[in-house]
């Protein structure tokens, strides 16, 4: 069995569900001590039941970062996964409050968590993996605010890769992965924009995160895991 992360501590934000849960699971099975945080206590418990002996912290990354880092005592791997689409509309229907809310959830939360984690990550010469999105590389009709926030997260990744060294910073940019309640029509539409003509699995994204954690020369990279939906940098 893979025990390559034995002795390492990982924090996965939004780790109770979806991609975050799969990431927590793969890091756990590679031997890491895993801390997850999430807003919903029930999902946190369900994640622990599925994965095993992990540490669960009920916390909203938009406002509970201080509280979260009272639990995080050491840190080698930070996965900024928390995020999501709160609404869905074109540019004219997306007001500035919606933009602010999307940026709070998808970009500023990662900034705050990273700032709080940095002293621990510098001490451990650790690494950060940001979960971006294929629409952050090439905008698609997922709302202008969401696309721009994810593009911001990608830019932040590349910026920090230079400034924070030797702490490595990479992004994984997933394409359409069905995690919530998607309609069959939504799934078909999402699958059709990939070359593989299918949506991805949370495990496929988690494998890329594990690779990014383990490969010591990967830094400032944006790892597309999207069935070929986006092929630009």
């Amino acid at each position: 069995m893979d025990n390559s992360l034995a002795g390492k501590t990982a924090l996965v934000t939004g780790g109770s569900r979806g991609i975050g849960r799969a990431v927590a699971k793969v890091l756990y099975h590679a031997g890491a001590r895993v801390i997850i945080c999430g807003r919903d206590p029930k999902s946190l418990i369900a994640a622990a039941k599925e994965i095993g002996e992990i540490i669960c912290v009920p916390a909203d990354v938009r406002k509970d970062v201080k509280k979260l880092f009272r639990v995080v005592d050491r840190l080698d791997i930070l996965v900024n996964n928390a995020g999501g689409m709160e609404h869905y509309g074109g540019f004219e229907k997306t007001g500035l409050d919606a933009w602010r809310s999307t940026f709070e959830l998808n970009l500023f939360s990662a900034v705050e968590v990273t700032r709080a984690a940095l002293p621990l990550l510098r001490k451990s010469k650790g690494c950060i993996v940001n979960i971006a999105s294929d629409v952050g590389r090439r905008p698609f009709d997922m709302g202008p605010d969401y696309c721009a926030a994810k593009a911001g997260l990608i830019s932040l990744t590349r910026y920090l890769a230079a400034e924070l060294a030797p702490v490595r910073v990479n992004a994984v940019a997933p394409g359409p992965v069905v995690t919530g309640s998607w309609s069959p029509a939504d799934i078909r539409k999402a699958a059709s924009r990939t070359l593989m003509k299918r949506t991805g699995t949370t495990e496929e994204v988690a494998s890329a995160v594990l690779f990014a954690v383990k490969c010591g020369y990967l830094n400032g990279a944006v790892c597309g895991v999207d069935g070929g939906a986006v092929r630009t940098p």
């Binding site: 890769a161 060294a165 490595r168 593989m196 496929e204 490969c215 010591g216 020369y217 830094n219």
Partner: protein
């Protein structure tokens, strides 16, 4: 409630797979071949001139060494892999020319011979091997090798950057043409401890390394890690994975 166990049944990820790594006698190619063999694949490496070195590398992991010029003999090379191992699942187009003479800032020093030599191997070889492999693969992976100058340009490497930029475009087009049967990706490598890094003086090495955020050159085994990830990933295609220690950030 009993917590799930961490242990999983040991299973080599590439068990039953056959891989060909072109230009596999040393350096990056040899490291990729070793990584695949350690993951359970049967591995053939290809060489053009260095027979003894290639054979020693292949022997080190129980693989085969196959002679052939990828720009001219791709079809017979792929046929030889199938003859030896019965199938082909993974092709790594690693063969490339590394001639110090082709590294120059003087445009007038670029000769047609340099152009032909570099493009014949790095570009035509990658295309011909990929096409031949796609004919025999049921499902599979093609992994190409490109380099940072293809993305950013490089004063001393115009011919090389042209060839490697061609590989970028070829990767994406092949990914579209061969989906969903075959996944095609490329590794855009920065400064890895092989090839041109070996030509540098100690002072140059120090200066180059200091421009890399992680503060060092990459190791061939780290390229092996990336190649293995791509060889195992069924939902990654048409992608360019930059592996450069954070030097380019593109």
């Amino acid at each position: 409630m009993k917590a799930p166990s961490r242990s999983r049944a040991p299973e080599l990820p590439l068990a039953g797979k056959v891989a060909l790594v072109t230009g596999g006698s040393r350096g990056i190619g040899a490291a990729v071949a070793r990584a695949f063999a350690a993951a359970g694949a049967k591995v053939a490496i290809n060489y053009r001139k260095s027979r003894d070195e290639a054979q020693a590398t292949a022997d080190s992991f129980g693989g085969a060494a196959l002679k052939g010029d990828v720009g001219r003999e791709a079809d017979s090379l792929i046929a030889a892999v199938v003859k030896n191992f019965g199938r082909l699942d993974i092709l790594v187009n690693n063969a490339g020319r590394s001639d110090p003479k082709a590294w120059t800032e003087d445009l007038d020093a670029v000769t047609d011979e340099m152009w032909d030599e570099v493009l014949d191997t790095d570009l035509r070889g990658t295309f011909r091997c990929s096409r031949a492999a796609a004919r025999v693969m049921k499902q599979g992976k093609i992994i190409n090798v490109t380099s940072i100058p293809a993305l950013t340009g490089e004063r001393e490497a115009i011919v090389y950057s042209i060839a490697k930029a061609g590989v970028l475009g070829m990767t994406k087009s092949l990914a579209m043409l061969l989906a969903p049967r075959i996944q095609v990706n490329c590794m855009a490598l920065g400064s890895v401890e092989t090839g041109w890094v070996e030509w540098l003086t100690p002072a140059q090495r120090k200066s180059y390394a200091s421009a890399i955020p992680v503060g060092r050159f990459g190791k061939p085994d780290e390229v092996g890690q990336l190649a293995l990830f791509l060889a195992e990933s069924d939902w990654v295609t048409g992608q360019t994975y930059v592996l450069d220690g954070g030097e380019a950030r593109v």
